[in-house]
Symmetry: C2
Subunit: 71 residues, 2 copies
């Protein structure tokens, strides 16, 4: 069913691990600037490849980076 990304959960995932966005950038290879775009919802259409890089670094599924709602 058509889904919509409701809320980015990266900040919560970082808080749980006591990580900074910089540390996530170093571990994932995604720039700190791009990460902050997503955590502040200035960018919402995350690509799968960025999601996989971030999710691998956080050891979660790419699906867990967002709260989803049915459209």
């Amino acid at each position: 069913m058509p889904l919509k990304a409701r809320r980015c959960l990266i900040s919560e995932l970082l808080k749980e691990r006591g990580w900074t966005q910089r540390l996530l950038a170093e571990k994932s290879g995604v720039s700190e600037k791009v990460i902050s775009f997503y955590t502040t919802d200035r960018r919402t259409q995350m690509s799968l490849v960025i999601a996989v890089q971030l999710a691998d670094a956080l050891d979660v599924s790419p699906r867990d980076l967002y709260e989803w709602t049915q459209e």
Copy 2:
């Protein structure tokens, strides 16, 4: 680490389940046309939201839709 989507695995996932692209379209809410773009690699930059819809329908992680290589 920067990753690159090497090969789309949706066709394999469909074959394993004996599904058609049409059935995946019905189950996922993603149009058959868009699915064929990805399975024929005419489009490679899949968005996370499309990946989550397809992965949910296939009951896999969005990560499993592609073979990945380190860039």
